[in-house]
Amino acid sequence: MTEVGTARRRKEDARLLTGRTQWTDNMQLPGMAYVAFLRSPMAHARITRVDVSAARGLPGVIAAYAGADFAEEQGSLPCAWPVSEDIVIPDHPPMAVSEVRYVGEAVACVVATDRYKAADALDAIEVDYEPLPPVLDMNDALTEGSPKVHEAGNQAFTWRLTQGDVDAALRDAPVLIDRTYIQQRLIPTAMEPRAVMATSDGESFTLWSATQIPHVLRLMLALTTGIPEHKLRVIAPDVGGGFGSKLQVTAEEVLCLLLTRKTGRPVKWTESRSEGNLTVHHGRDQIQHVTLAAEADGRIRGLRVELLADMGAYLMLVTPGVPILGAFMFNGIYKMDAYDFNCTGVFTTKMPTDAYRGAGRPEATYAIERVMDELAAELNLDPIEVRRRNWIRHEEFPYTTVAGLTYDSGNYEAATDKALSLFGYDKLRAEQGDRRDRGDPVQLGIGVSTYTEMCGLAPSRVLGSLSYGAGGWEHGSVRMLPTGKVEVVTGSSPHGQGHETAWSQIVADALGVPFDDVSVIHGDTAISHKGMDTYGSRSLVVGGVAVLAACEKVKEKARKIAAHVLECAPDDVEFSEGTFRVRGTDSGKTIQELSLATFAAHDLPDGVEARLDADATVDPDNFSFPHGTHLCAVEVDTETGMTKIRSYVAVDDVGKVVNPLIVEGQVHGGIAQGVGQALYEEAVYDAEGNLLTSTMADYLVPSAADLPAFVTDRTETPATSNPLGVKGVGEAGTIASTPAVVNAIVDALRPRGVHDVQMPCTPERIWRALS
């Protein structure tokens, strides 16, 4: 039996669930001081005076600073994805000096002997603001005469992708579907809030952060603060979720480094949930204008997308890149000859947006999957049928799409057929008809989403061509210890994904060692010296594959040593289940025996170093493309607008599966998060630019009690871009589920003349749509 494919329980869970681990906020250093930030209550204002002197005199206060105190050293928070020639990247001081541009922007801070004194002292800081007009609506922001967020104006960039003649496709099209969808602003809501701890001996710095990206962070902090890269160590200890929100270089990380330098003490900052809602980067927030042209039989002629993407007040690490990732996905799994995508990034006086689970692909998938349902309704076709008429058939792979990506593998027919059967599609359609016929106040709707996505963010060359600042490779190291145990160092940085378990399974198979004999180390730049970290469902597809490649190198080294010990030619050595044997004989050595022999180094072949370890850096030549079919049945109470998900079936194709239990977990959590966008979640700002959803009483996220038991299954068409055949599963559920749920709601209400409900589809919105 192989380890890969086994539903192993996660070896990291005991310590994560009991909390007997190093969460950043758990850690203590001698002489620790605590940081609290004073944040702007104004969406847009000139800072005319900051007086921290009263705070400095309070008991327990070590230091208090305003933005001007950092002006010489704080640099500008980086944007690593300048997507276009015309992009405007405004200066982004970690602490505002002269102007604030969103509610929550840091304007001053206190360092104190405990976190209570630090928070209390904030009340003693005086700040005078001269209000400036807030800029809150993207369309208004782009009109002439709009107040400006930045001097250069409110347009951050424009970006276009075009293929074929869309004008011709739209002209005289038998069917034209023209829709505008709003991707509401979302708050990522990781379970562990952000936390940062920093210390220095005066020359070298160590920063602990609840981050997804210790390696990228180290580089960016070095560039931002001027601290030399080799004098800066970044540690991501165990991290409790991120969903993209910890794929960031934050003001608080920069400022904690500067504060430890200024005060000579180790400092720690942990955000409160409300502080996090205000100042963790937000997600989504796009207005999508979509025009789809089709033939009378439902075949798509072309697609035009006009996109406004809210950047918020500044461009953060990959802010402008998020809608660009979506540009390649609006065509979904469908064939068409013409596509035109135009995006404008817009500045507003709100928290900046950036990557949030799916980053660009959920938005695009939502638009195309909603529009496909509208096309079906227009033609009076079943929504499954209209998809069948357009999707890439399994025998057509590899297939280069109108957006220019080459989908390597997939089988949309197989996933859809399996999902329909598990769902009981025909029976539910019959029940829907019955309810309609008898005018039941509770109507039933059926929603489908046949999604794909691009992930496993890899090909460095492609990322380079899109002006992304970094590459897409990943690094892994594998070392045999003298006792035959194995240590793996991975460059990707887990924050809940289960790397330790999955990597152990891969190594166990590759080296023929027991699962429990493998340990996986991650997240510390002093130990894991090379990495691109974790986001975009890339860990397994790139990082797991790098570990496998390192194992292959270890095996080749061991083969040479085995041949020497066994007194035969390396080509005569065969490897099976952890033992190197002389071909055709019982004479052999286990990899553990060879580990000890290598350590002792008493009898190694000439020219062979005394080490059984290897590094590998891999850079796949394509993205990976998970796909699947999700089906959702929703009951809509037409008297109150209340919705209830009655059943949900997800059949996903994530290629080869290393650990089915981990895949299940990702799919369940992903669906829940996508349902969150469909039904519950929205970051709401009022007319003055105040965030109204700063607590979890107002920003609703679904819990298990609000969700049905998901039925999940899989099909398996291996990816061809990596030797494991894996595709990535971190974002698939979120990408698929949002349109499935909204399609179901609209499907329930279509006979009542409803063609759309804006997300989140709250009971009140549904009730108003029906009124």
Binding site: D120, S272, S274, T695, A697, T762
Partner: protein, 284 residues
């Protein structure tokens, strides 16, 4: 939680607790903490002193007192909803208590606390109001009984005087054949009620003899739907019940917030009252 500074007292007796409260206008009673601590966390409340009554003897438990059920102020929601005395004597209280927040809150939060906090979106104030509960308060001057109708003064305000502590609530047992239902409308299981409707109906011979209706989150205090109660009196089960329940939103002043506008809340009050009455009357 990083609240502002406060003093903390844990008096040994109720008398000492009353004195501590009387001595300091800015002191607050701490019981289960499920309403107060979030306010402290958000620094929306800056009490000088927290008077912790959580371990005072004599305020706990649920007691059968013949014609009424006495629920101690410190009885937790979980204790209340599981109590055979409550289930037999005032089942509507158990039905509503079971919907409060989540299990963790129900194990810490107290019955008296949720009434003294007087959040109109809370579930229990409307229930106690519908059942004509009587709130018992103690101070240095002695004990005082306050009818629920006189207890809830405004948003988060009661008619408790400085130095008075709620010690328990008397819920009269209803004589005759009564049915009960608490209909709570919320977006997620843990969320506050957008609208809640607490209903008790006495039914005989296919018609409703008497109805008591309490509304959550339809004004700055919990409200009785008096017009609907009158309209339901003597109404035969069926379409007439729906018509009578159209009165449920009369004389309400529901708030506008992120989750609902007032017109939608009024609509919900009517629909949910009808549903609650039907369920309580045993006609699903």
């Amino acid at each position: 939680m990083i609240p502002a500074q406060f003093d903390y007292l844990r008096p040994a007796t109720l008398e000492e607790a009353c004195q501590a409260l009387a001595a300091d206008d800015e002191a607050k009673v701490l019981a289960g903490g499920q309403s107060l601590l979030p306010l402290l966390r958000l620094r929306l409340a800056y009490p000088t002193t927290l008077v912790d009554i959580g371990r005072l003897p004599g305020l706990t438990g649920v007691h059968d007192r013949g014609d009424h059920v006495f629920i101690g102020a410190l009885a937790t929601h979980d204790e209340v909803l599981r109590s055979p005395v409550v289930r037999a004597g005032c089942p509507l209280v158990a039905l509503a208590a079971a919907t409060v927040a989540d299990p963790a809150v129900r194990h810490r939060g107290t019955f008296g606390g949720s009434l003294a906090h007087a959040d109109p979106a809370g579930d229990l104030p409307a229930v106690v109001l519908a059942l004509d509960g009587v709130l018992v308060a103690r101070s240095a001057e002695g004990e005082r009984e306050i009818a629920a109708a006189d207890f809830f003064a405004d948003y988060l305000e009661t008619t408790l005087e400085a130095g008075e502590i709620l010690v328990g609530v008397k819920i009269p047992k209803l004589a005759g054949e009564w049915g009960f239902h608490y209909e709570k409308f919320r977006r997620t299981v843990q969320a506050w009620a957008i609208v809640g409707v607490a209903v008790a109906v006495r039914r005989s011979n296919g018609s409703i003899q008497e109805a008591r209706i309490g509304l959550s989150n339809m004004g700055t205090t919990p409200l009785r739907a008096r017009a609907a109660e009158s309209a339901l009196q003597g109404v035969e089960l069926g379409e007439a019940v729906r018509q009578a329940c159209e009165e449920a939103s009369a004389d309400t002043a529901p708030p506008a917030d992120l989750h609902a506008q007032p017109d939608y809340r009024r609509h919900l009050a009517r629909v949910l009252t009808h549903r609650a009455v039907r369920t309580a009357a045993g006609t699903p």
